[in-house]
């Protein structure tokens, strides 16, 4: 453990004496705190050598990242406007700040009057603080002068000028840690605080109790401050901030005003909607055309099916009874079986037939369908094989899509576009009981419902979370499903596409207005700060994409495995046939689809795109395809999304939504079938 620290600090800090050699004291907890988008993560990465998200949308870094700085623990926290309990991020940040020994407060030099509120609150809490004034290069460009010495004097703590993008001023970080101290607290607070402190509550906790943090008050069984008391303290603090800014900031010219055309145009619907459409078109070209057609076609078929699965399956087939169907496409594009090989005691037993198979299967355009006789090889390597299917789908189908999608999301987040999109769409979302912020989880949903379900946390009230969660599970198709739908409908003409979109859109409107009427309470209004629009740094985007993709694979991989195991077990135990027969009246009479379409619904429970993909092999008419994909879209979310939904929304709500999607999917699908088929 100790050696690890030494080697790390040796590597990182050439030239500066390690802190640990001077002080052999017990490790301290250093916490980086700041408003959203002030560059905290840059400091964290530099100090710890580890990477975390640098996020532009307030509310996307909920998780906390911990690293080591010399001998000390270093924590990064979500961007917050103050220490409080208005949302999850604040609660998380609050608890880490309370337990921290040293606070490094990162402040945006361009937004002092916003950022210093948090600074003063940290000082009022009695924490040891150093202020890192970031974006100092921008000050010169915008002709603003800040008297840092005077600021330091007024705050009572050290202020360090930095520019995180090019690490300017980072040589002072070690001083910032060493020189952190308690600052000048508000005089009017001290007498009230003393009253609470007497009763053996730390000052930081005492202040938060006064400011109405119920959970802290409960912890010490003290009466909690009222909203009025909090307001009084906040107004006092706000006045102090304004007073300080007046004394230390000078603007040389009014020309410094940021006027950002793109940012402005993206707000007004007249220009903002075209911008949004162009954005969508670019995203579609990138994900829909490039990733899901070209890249996935290569990774899934060439690498996954023809290389990985073929070799694994034929290796297993050497030792176990197997039938192999060779399938090729005829002139009309339909699948035809060109030959069936039978190896009743494994391929190794019949070398001449094996060689014939080898030669024939290598021909271009030939697909192999392995049917293992025994249960275990079938379970692990068969059609729904736990090993074969999981690996192909996860690594060669889903991973490229997920990476492509995360690149887009990271790019949008870092550009500062998302808060503006939320602003533009606010009024439309108001109609269904949401505010513009809801656009974030819903947009994410088009990528991955599982991810989107987690992001509902950033919404203000339980009511909004419920509405958005329902919308996500009912109507939003994820990127994997969209890709399959697009492939199914390609060449079918514009009619089915219009039918599909209008049915789904109608369900969306009816569902959200009903929920808005039914659910009690009020939704929170939009209140969001708009960060500067900037071109994202590609290195940040890629690093963020990498860490998120790894995280996603870790989370989804397990459930994939379980899902494949479940369907595989159903297949070898015959449950799949039982299921097909059980719901065949529903499939054949009501939805007017072939009996085998029931498989799609089982698969759809595991992964949404599995469901739609299952329709590929059936000979369906255009309208049957349309009915099937409408039903599959409205049908339950995939198993990973389902589990995350239960975790986020609780068992009761989760199960209600899950079963309701069953009912809606079959009712709407059936109605459409009865009309158009």
């Amino acid at each position: 453990m100790k050696e690890d620290n030494v080697s790390r600090s040796d590597k990182k800090n050439t030239g500066s004496a390690p802190l640990s050699s001077e002080r052999q004291t017990s490790p301290q907890k250093i916490v980086l705190v700041g408003n959203p988008n002030v560059g905290k993560s840059c400091f964290f990465n530099y100090m710890s050598g580890m990477y975390v998200d640098v996020s532009n949308f307030p509310g996307t870094t909920v998780s906390i990242t911990k690293g080591k700085y010399h001998n000390n623990d270093l924590f990064d926290t979500p961007g917050i406007y103050g220490v409080g309990s208005f949302n999850d991020e604040e609660k998380v940040a609050r608890d880490i700040i309370l337990s921290g020994d040293i606070i490094l407060n990162v402040v945006n030099a361009l937004n002092l009057d916003r950022d210093l509120f948090l600074t003063l609150q940290l000082i009022d809490m009695g924490k040891k603080v150093s202020v890192l004034l970031n974006f100092c290069d921008e000050l010169k460009k915008q002709k603003i002068k800040i008297d840092t010495k005077k600021l330091s004097g007024l705050l009572g703590v050290e202020v360090f000028e930095t520019t995180a993008v090019d690490n300017a001023g980072f040589d002072k970080l070690e001083d910032a840690v060493k020189m952190a101290r308690t600052g000048k607290q508000a005089l009017e607070l001290q007498s009230i605080l003393n009253h609470v402190i007497e009763k053996s509550v730390p000052q930081s906790d005492a202040l938060l109790i006064l400011e109405g943090n119920e959970s802290i008050a409960e912890k010490y069984t003290r009466p909690c401050g009222t909203a009025d008391e909090r307001e009084k303290i906040y107004i006092g603090r706000r006045n102090r901030v304004n007073d300080i800014v007046d004394q230390i900031e000078y603007e040389d010219s009014k020309k410094g005003e940021i006027f950002n055309l793109f940012g402005r145009y993206s707000l007004q619907p007249a220009t903002g909607i075209p911008i949004l459409l162009v954005m969508f078109a670019l995203v579609y070209l990138f994900i829909g055309e490039f990733i899901s057609q070209r890249v996935v076609n290569f990774t899934e078929n060439t690498i996954g099916k023809n290389l990985f699965e073929y070799n694994v399956k034929s290796f297993v087939g050497n030792y176990t009874p197997v039938d192999i169907k060779l399938i090729s496409k005829d002139n009309t594009g339909n699948d035809v079986i060109i030959k069936t090989f039978q190896f009743p005691s494994g391929m190794d037993d019949d070398q001449s037939l094996k060689n014939e198979f080898r030669v024939m299967s290598k021909k271009p355009g030939v697909q192999c369908d392995f049917i293992f006789h025994n249960a275990l090889p079938q379970l692990f390597f068969g059609e729904f094989g736990v090993i074969t299917m999981t690996v192909t789908y996860l690594l060669f189908l889903l991973l490229p899509l997920v990476i492509g999608f995360y690149i887009v999301m990271a790019f949008l987040e870092d550009s500062g576009y998302l808060p503006r999109l939320a602003t533009m769409l606010d009024r439309a979302f108001n109609k269904v009981g949401l505010n513009g912020r809801a656009v974030i989880p819903i947009m994410l949903g088009f990528g991955c419902i599982t991810m989107a379900n987690i992001t509902t946390r950033l919404l203000g009230t339980e009511r909004e979370k419920s509405i958005v969660t329902a919308i996500l599970q009912f109507v939003i198709p994820c990127s994997a499903q969209l890709a399959v739908i697009a492939a199914l409908l390609s060449g079918a003409g514009i009619g089915p596409i219009i039918l599909y979109i209008s049915v789904i859109f109608t369900v969306l409107i009816v569902l959200s207005t009903t929920l808005n009427k039914m659910l009690p309470g009020e939704s929170s209004p939009l209140l969001i700060d708009l960060p500067m629009v900037r071109i994202p740094r590609m290195s940040n985007v890629l690093k963020k994409t990498y860490f998120r993709s790894v995280g996603f694979m870790k989370e989804a991989g397990f459930w994939f495995f379980i899902g494949a195991l479940g369907v595989g077990l159903m297949q070898i135990t015959g449950l799949l046939t039982v299921w097909q027969n059980a719901i065949s009246p529903l499939t054949t009479v009501w939805l007017k689809l072939p009996k085998e379409a029931a498989n799609a619904f089982v698969m759809g429970m595991v992964r949404r795109d599995f469901g739609a993909a299952g329709l590929f092999h059936m000979n369906l008419t255009v309208m049957q395809k349309t009915v099937a994909i409408i039903t599959i879209t409205l049908f339950v979310p995939c198993i990973a999304a389902f589990v995350v939904m239960l975790k986020e929304r609780g068992w009761k709500e989760g199960m209600i939504i899950w079963f309701s999607t069953w009912i809606t999917a079959f009712i709407i699908g059936g109605i459409v079938a009865q009309i158009v088929i």
Binding site: Y81, G82, A227, R238, D529
Partner: protein, 79 residues
């Protein structure tokens, strides 16, 4: 100067905040830098009444329902 509410402001107006709505949202507004007596500039008013204001170099968007509850005085010029 006539009393009004924030949702009535037009692009380019200067706004002096007279009274904020109470409760949690007030604390959030104060933290972001909007408190009673402050002067803001309305830099955008979207159809439907979503308002974007600027205070110093910070741009903040407020939903119509919130803007409606903020009492202000409006003027064409900076006071």
């Amino acid at each position: 100067m006539p009393n009004s509410t924030l949702d009535k402001s037009r692009k380019g107006n200067f706004i002096t905040v007279v009274k904020l709505p109470g409760g949690e949202i007030k604390s959030q507004l104060i933290r972001l830098g909007i408190s009673e007596g402050d002067t803001l500039k309305c830099i955008e008013r979207l159809p439907g009444g979503t308002i974007v204001v600027r205070k110093n170099r910070q741009e903040i968007a407020l939903g119509f329902d919130l803007a409606k509850k903020i009492h202000v005085t409006l003027s064409e010029k900076h006071s």
